[in-house]
């Protein structure tokens, strides 16, 4: 198997794994935030802010994977 075939197989898997990991992480973060707000509704603002920061960082990983996909896509020959 040559370099380009391996790359064209690995790229979709890489993006898929990134999406799965990010989805799992976001799901856990949202679940924990809901639980925390349920326990302490008065701290909702702080929990939301922490949740937004966490979600932005988690989402960024998927976007990084997507951009790397676009960068490496150019190396796959037609």
């Amino acid at each position: 198997m040559d370099y380009q075939s391996m790359l064209s197989l690995a790229l979709p898997f890489g993006v898929a794994f990134a999406a799965i990991g990010s989805g799992y992480g976001l799901g856990r973060a949202v679940g924990s935030a809901m639980e925390a707000i349920g326990r302490q509704p008065e701290a909702a603002g702080k929990i939301q802010t922490a949740m937004i920061i966490g979600a932005a960082l988690i989402e960024a990983l998927t976007i990084y994977a997507l951009v790397v996909f676009f960068i490496l896509q150019g190396k796959i020959g037609g």
Partner: protein
């Protein structure tokens, strides 16, 4: 976290800081790295800011003690996922813009966000009084 005063105005101030960082970078970037490189970094940063605004709108309307604010959530989801990601795809497909430069601009947002949060949590920086939670106004 010793000084975890993370009100919602923290995000508004962070967005303002990111905007200032990008505006300061733009002329220097044009001078030192070229117009397209600077514009790509700037566009990536602006995309990151808009993404953060809609992410906060989604979180604030979906995760709240009073229950889901359906209309706002639907609007935020509709704008964030199809339109914003389509804009990101269009930016990636601009031939003059390198994806790496877009990524650098996007990372500036995250770097400022992480550094402000770390500064607040670890060093107690950026502690001013909570004047208002005006992110909601910015998003609306």
């Amino acid at each position: 976290m010793p000084n975890s005063n993370l009100g919602l105005n923290f995000l508004a101030r962070t967005l303002r800081t990111i905007g200032v960082v990008l505006l300061v970078f733009l002329p220097f970037g044009v001078y030192y790295f070229g117009t397209y490189t600077a514009l790509a970094v700037f566009s990536g940063g602006v995309w990151g800011i808009v993404n953060l605004i809609f992410l906060s709108a989604v979180v604030r309307s979906a995760i709240r003690p009073e229950g889901i604010e359906t209309a706002r959530l639907v609007v935020a989801l509709l704008v964030k996922f199809p339109l914003l990601y389509l804009a990101g795809y269009a930016l990636l497909k601009v031939p003059q813009f390198s994806p790496l430069n877009l990524l650098i601009g996007f990372s500036i947002c995250l770097a400022v966000l992480a550094l402000k949060a770390l500064g607040r949590a670890l060093l107690g920086l950026d502690k001013g009084p909570n004047k208002s939670d005006n992110l909601g106004e910015a998003v609306r």
